[in-house]
């Protein structure tokens, strides 16, 4: 079962707007990874942020991590219709390297 939550569960915005998704967790982590999934297909890796990092950027994506609050956020700037997808955060803890996934946010970008 998931050990954290993402909010919002669903987000609908207009093209060009920014989208922010949040992820909370309950235990310590080694790193946290964000993924995108289009229509029940495979997962595309977006960004990995380590526990000693606070912010990372990749193109229009910005991820922040606050280990004191056990939370992370994913910001997509200047959104496009092609960004419509489900976004998941996944936490890695310990040497086993398994991912524990959040519940996901369904993002819809309206043209």
């Amino acid at each position: 079962s998931q050990q954290g939550e993402e909010d919002p569960q669903a987000l609908s915005i207009q093209e060009g707007e920014n989208a922010t998704m949040n992820c909370s967790y309950k235990t310590s982590i080694n790193n946290l990874q964000w993924y995108r999934q289009n229509s029940g297909r495979g997962l595309v890796h977006l960004i990995l942020i380590r526990s000693n990092e606070r912010e990372k950027h990749s193109g229009r994506l910005r991820v922040t991590l606050d280990t004191s609050k056990k939370s992370s956020s994913l910001l997509i700037t200047a959104s496009r219709a092609a960004d419509t997808a489900s976004y998941f955060c996944a936490r890695v803890k310990g040497s086993a390297r398994q991912l524990t996934f959040g519940s996901g946010t369904q993002l819809t970008v309206l043209p």
């Binding site: 990874q33 998941f88 390297r97 991912l99």
Partner: protein, 113 residues
Amino acid sequence: SAVISQKPSRDICQRGTSLTIQCQVDSQVTMMFWYRQQPGQSLTLIATANQGSEATYESGFVIDKFPISRPNLTFSTLTVSNMSPEDSSIYLCSVLAGDETQYFGPGTRLLVL
């Protein structure tokens, strides 16, 4: 990054039958994992596929239902045995890359009638 393929991409099966899903990666990797995504849900880890030894299963998943093979560092199979409609899901394999990133295959969409 790693390039991962899965076969079949989708299948429709009758209850009581079994299906074996293959996962092939284009480079040798130490760790491979199998996940299940039930309709409308997030991903749940089934097991870690260990090369040369038995897989390590998560709570709620057992070897008799989900036998896993890992004959080498680039290939693994997951079998869904004695299927029921509740097994209808997307099954995904993933691999751990050297930079701690996990890459996923395209998934196998299974429908059990």
